[in-house]
């Protein structure tokens, strides 16, 4: 099984050192994504979703005070065994990330057109500015940006939240990565544009066997997009299984509480929330995997 997995995370731990000692925020995460599989990581705010993605990308390890342990295999290769240069070369090409906070992830001193050119150069160092602009325009159109010329000439602060998010999505897909880390990719998109960008990701998965780690609080989108789901609570996976199993037969108390808190289109007001319960710390539930 492991051989064809694009990503295999084993016993991942992360702690931060501060003046009063050390706090562990990931307590041993196991997660794997097969080639061409769409896996969602959902759960509590502050539970460790973004840091997990940033460890896979390799940037968390460079944060002062952060200590990471465990094993991460990418296409069967141990990421720790790669040199720093090798890891940097993978970033933005074989592996790319849509950051939760696009306005800060996009370098504010360059125009979008320049940023797109830089990303393309990572895979094709010789690409010309005109060619990069043409390719950038094409992919921006695919994420429903109807005036790509203006966007390419703009700085991030001149674009709306959702336009920046789409620029990030476009830049992460443009080199056709093997692994896409999508951290809250649709929070600033209206539902019709969101549906269009999801379709684009799905197409890439199908045409290139791209694997996706999809982090989202929008469980409706997760239900539509993901093949499998991992539910995380306070730095631990509490439940995992195929999407249908998680929605139809949630077994862990935290997963049940989460599903019960979703605001419904059928109305009835915002659900009343039970206080945090000790049962949320119950052991992990793993659903049977459907193979094939």
């Amino acid at each position: 099984m492991t051989a064809q997995d694009t990503l295999d995370i084993q016993n991942l731990r992360l702690s931060f050192r501060n003046w009063s000692g050390s706090v562990e925020v990931l307590h041993g995460i196991d997660l794997r994504i097969a080639r061409g599989e769409r896996v969602a990581l959902v759960g509590e705010s502050g539970s460790g979703k973004s840091v997990t993605a940033r460890i896979v990308l390799g940037t968390m390890q460079e944060t002062p005070g952060a200590r990471v342990s465990g094993r991460i295999l990418f296409g069967g290769r141990d990421l720790d065994a790669m040199s720093r240069t090798e890891r940097r070369a993978v970033r933005g090409t074989a592996m790319s990330m849509i950051f939760q906070d696009p306005t800060t992830a996009l370098n504010p001193v360059y125009r979008i057109g320049t940023l797109v050119h830089e990303v393309l150069k990572r895979r094709e160092p010789a690409i010309t500015a005109e060619e990069a602009r043409r390719r950038g325009g094409d992919i921006l159109r695919e994420v429903s940006i109807d005036d790509p010329e203006r966007v390419l000439d703009s700085f991030a602060f001149q674009l709306s939240g959702g336009m920046n998010q789409r620029v990030m999505i476009a830049m992460s897909l443009i080199n056709e990565p093997q692994l896409l880390l999508a951290d809250e990719p649709g929070t600033a998109l209206d539902v019709t544009v969101q549906a269009q960008t999801l379709k684009l990701m799905r197409d890439l998965v199908e045409s290139h066997g791209t694997s996706v780690l999809f982090i989202s609080h929008n469980l409706g989108v997760v239900r539509e997009f993901a093949d499998r789901i991992y539910v995380i609570y306070r730095g631990r996976i509490v439940e995992r299984g195929p999407t249908a199993a998680i929605f139809e037969d949630p077994r862990h108390p935290y997963t049940r509480a989460l599903l019960a808190a979703i605001p419904r289109l059928t109305g009835g007001g915002i659900p009343e929330i039970a206080e945090r319960s000790d049962s949320f710390l119950a052991p992990m539930v793993a659903h049977e995997e459907v193979m094939g």
């Binding site: 709306s160 808190a261 605001p263």
Partner: protein, 270 residues
């Protein structure tokens, strides 16, 4: 709700210049916000929602038109009192929090500037605010970079609630929160609105949230206000093709909702 609107947006247009181009972000928009209501603002990405929020806050003036707050023109330079009365939770919380200041210091500054509470009480007020939005008080010592996306968003909400303002503009305030925390925050906002008669302008793409919290809904497309009506009306009898297309694309988690969505999206189609 009283009859006098708390805010009137009258024929507002906002243009930006980008290089040689002129971008009309907001194009001749007029609407009233009633005292005490929760008005949802939805619509296309890039349709001018945040631009309107920023103008209400006075971050920049309209190119044309006027903003009337409680019967008076909102001046370009805001008095301290106006800055207390109108608050904004920005779409991107990281850009609105000073990266070099601890969370506690940012909240403290908001209270100090507006002279809210006796100085000795302020640390207690901050602790209560953080607890209300479900944040551990020990996070307050960290800088924004040491927080998760949703933790930052809750700090921004806590700061906007700190001064008990009258009008709060919430730009995607819960998009980085899990649904449990989201429910808690939305219920808190609702309680405060009832208890203190607050008014909210709630910008969001989450139409399931809109259905459950908003009194009225404004729909934007390409800088224009294309529809404005009571929440039930927007969902049950959408007046534009665009609104209908939004409804038909709402992601849901149950078959029951999917059936409702599909029947709503068909409603009124001749």
């Amino acid at each position: 709700m009283t009859s006098e609107p708390i805010l009137s947006v009258i024929d507002v247009t906002k243009r930006f210049t980008v290089g040689q181009r002129v971008v009309t972000a907001v194009d001749g928009v007029s609407f009233d916000v009633a005292e005490g209501e929760c008005l949802a603002v939805v619509g296309e990405s890039g349709s001018g929602k945040s631009t309107i929020a920023n103008m209400i806050l006075g971050l920049y003036p309209p190119s044309e038109g006027s903003l009337i707050f409680r019967g008076r023109d909102l001046p370009e330079r805001r008095t301290l009192e106006l800055r207390r009365q109108i608050q904004l939770v920005q779409q991107n919380p990281l850009s609105s929090l000073n990266p070099r200041r601890s969370i506690a210091a940012s909240l403290r500054l908001a209270l100090d500037v507006h002279g809210y509470g006796a100085p000795a009480e302020r640390p207690g007020i901050i602790e209560d605010l953080l607890a209300e939005v479900g944040l551990d008080p020990h996070l307050a010592r960290r800088s924004p970079a040491g927080l998760s996306g949703g933790q930052r968003q809750r700090v921004a909400i806590a700061r906007a609630l700190a001064c008990r303002s009258d009008l709060i503009v919430l730009d995607e305030p819960t998009s980085a929160l899990d649904v449990i925390v989201q429910a808690r925050v939305l219920r808190l906002l609702e309680e405060l609105r009832r208890a203190h008669g607050l008014t909210y302008i709630f910008i969001t793409h989450d139409l399931s949230v809109v259905r459950n919290v908003a009194d009225r809904v404004a729909v934007f497309q390409r800088g224009k206000l294309i529809e404005f009506a009571a929440t039930a009306r927007i969902f049950e009898d959408p007046g534009t093709e665009y609104t209908r297309s939004l409804i038909s694309a709402i992601p849901v988690v149950s078959e029951e909702e999917a059936a409702l969505r599909d029947s709503l999206a068909r409603a009124g189609v001749p």
